[in-house]
Symmetry: none
Subunit: 402 residues, 2 copies
């Protein structure tokens, strides 16, 4: 069975589903024989929830596959992560709420610093601040010259990150990245990866050369690096597929972007986990499905800071009573992937998960931890099927066949 | 996700992966309530390895499917065992290192004994020895007559087993087997299973009739039985797919053949498990991936000899310290399928597996046994995904998606 079998079985009701997603939740022991971040955290409410629910381990993409945040989130929401693996440019465009058209080509841009010979010496341009990013985007917008029939848009994302958009007929996304991914190397030329992309590659080459000339007097952001080319792609949204009126409570542009691509309403940006929970409480009557995204578990994992990741989990734990007080029909607590502090990056390990609902069949899991979840009633399952389970426990799926 | 998603994510590094494959490892209790062969064996090193690693149960092909050794090994190496299910003839050809061409049709042959009426009375011709097999192959080679444009090759495999090859234009593999699989029955005629195979079927019929006439004066090997027809097929090798420079340490022709088909270097034949480990030690610096194949677990299982299979496992255990002393980045210990002595043959039961690496997330498994592995962190997983996991733990896969 594929993850879209559920689409045919959808029924609507008044039930509420809450997804509490701690980004990069899964971990590893810091030292041999030790405990993971989640196993270390003091989290009485989550442990209690684990006891009252069904637990398991989710594979975001598949065995051994380390997911980027994009495909991992598509999987969480029941979208085949391989088929929906679009370029980062599109996610960025959705993240800044860019008014997309079908003639657009989106590119994720890093402002960078090059030396006199043109070698990249800082791939993040000293992490210039967002205001400086805005000034540079305006400067490019004012000076770049394009052939007739082509428009360009320069949109600030955050710090050194921006979105460039080319609009015109026949633009192709099969273009090589220009980011060399290493310092002390020259940016790559934007290669046409298929013959039909030659004209687009020429256009991007011109955009790259012009930007370099225009930014030559900048101290930090004197170069642009392109990756994640993506044409416009329309997804069947969560209302269309699952009949869910969904709200995304997420601060980071990328997650806001994915949510928008999947037809969720995106709540105004908030700065803290507490504000996210307040948003959930305030909007609880107005939606069926709530995606609450907690970013710092992943960020602290990426930093390799075991203790700090433990602390984020402990902070999230304190908000569990406020979520359960809303009495959602289904409460899922999980991550999109693992980000073990021991690896200081995403990993392929499966993600522990709690699914709490009145219709859960109890298992023997007494605590929320990776090792405990091995023996959970969900077993080890592909993440993409989680949405079907959530819908079932929300009584939103009818019987298959007679 | 399919098992070939990993192909896009390959990165190279200096890591080493060792696969220690005990053929037919999985077992069953001898009596109700008893222990399996693996659970019975005294194997302190394997138990210790299980404690320090992640364990699980692997399904070679799928639930309920009893695999032949061919597809089980393809699955172990990350090749879809259904799509790569080529005829045994091709595996035999690779096993004897036959110089294949694209115009070849390979057949697995058993020499057999028929009675005066032509009924098969021994499907293995009294297990004639390999020397006699060579004599008979030469005899056939000297006397068989073929139409213009067709060549035939008669290659001794071992005991009563041989490889016949027809070389010519337009040969087809859709031919019925002539081995009746039972004694007291006549060999089947080689039927054309599709209309296009009629000419090839006629050719094989002639080969069968001529062989029968030529061998009429033989006491034991007076007939040939054909099966496993296969045309030439090229596989993307392990270097091409995974960037692995692989060495196969295996004594039996079939496993040597599969290894060759998958682009592995095949080490010279050795007679004992100890010699296989010596080969591993001697060649350790020269390859990235090592397939060490232990045959007697399967052979003793096929014999229905529970105690002897236990002893083979205990012997393998004594070599574990020599393997771990090499400090491979990933050490996998498993089988290709189950061969319970209680069934005296291959079975469909999943195979216990250990995956040891620094990046393993600990599970609670304290011993290496079928029952213990049920609670392992790998869960119960399709064997074909094992290679992806091994590559991930060897840090040879990059992130999927942004």
């Amino acid at each position: 069975m594929g993850p879209d079998l559920i689409d045919r079985l959808i029924v609507k009701n008044e039930s509420k589903i809450v997804y509490l997603v701690m980004d990069g939740l899964g971990g590893l022991p810091r030292e041999e024989g030790g405990r993971t971040e989640l196993e270390t955290a003091r989290k009485p409410y989550l442990d209690n929830l684990a006891r009252q629910s069904v637990c398991g381990l989710l594979d975001p993409i598949g065995y051994g596959i380390t997911p980027g945040s994009g495909p991992a989130h598509f999987s969480l929401f029941g979208y085949d992560p391989v088929k929906t693996n679009v370029g980062r440019g599109l996610l960025s465009a959705a993240g800044v709420d860019f008014p997309m058209t079908e003639r657009d080509l989106f590119m994720r841009v890093n402002f960078a610093t090059i030396d006199r010979e043109g070698r990249v010496i800082d791939r993040r341009a000293g992490r210039i601040d967002t205001e400086e990013n805005r000034r540079i985007c305006r400067k490019l917008k004012d000076r770049v010259k394009l052939p007739a029939g082509i428009e360009a848009f320069f949109e600030t994302e955050k710090e050194h990150r921006a979105l460039f958009v080319l609009r015109g007929d026949g633009l192709q996304e099969e273009i090589g990245e220009t980011d060399p991914q290493k310092t002390r190397e020259f940016p790559h030329p934007p290669a046409a990866l298929i013959p039909e992309a030659a004209a687009t590659a020429g256009l991007i080459r011109s955009l790259m050369d012009q930007s370099k000339a225009i930014l030559a007097d900048e101290e930090k952001a004197n170069m642009v690096l392109f990756r994640g080319y993506s044409r416009f792609h329309r997804f069947a949204g969560m209302e269309e597929r699952f009949g869910l009126n969904a709200l995304a409570i997420a601060s980071y542009p990328m997650y806001r972007g994915i949510s928008r691509l999947l037809g969720m309403t995106v709540a105004p940006q908030t700065a803290t986990i507490e504000e996210e929970i307040q948003t959930l409480e305030r909007c609880y009557n107005d939606y069926d499905f709530f995606f609450v995204h907690v970013k710092p578990t992943d960020s602290r994992g990426e930093d390799g800071d075991f203790e700090a990741k433990v602390k984020v989990i402990e902070e999230v734990d304190t908000f569990i009573p406020r979520i359960t007080a809303l009495e959602p029909d289904v409460l899922v607590v999980t991550g999109d992937h693992s980000t073990p502090a021991a690896l200081a990056g995403h990993s392929w390990h499966p993600v522990p998960a709690i699914l709490a609902a009145k219709t859960c069949r109890p298992d023997g899991v007494a605590r929320f931890g990776e090792r405990d979840c091995v023996a959970g009633g969900l077993g080890r399952m592909p993440m993409v099927y989680l949405m079907g389970l959530a819908l079932a426990h929300a009584r939103r799926l009818e019987k298959f066949g007679a």
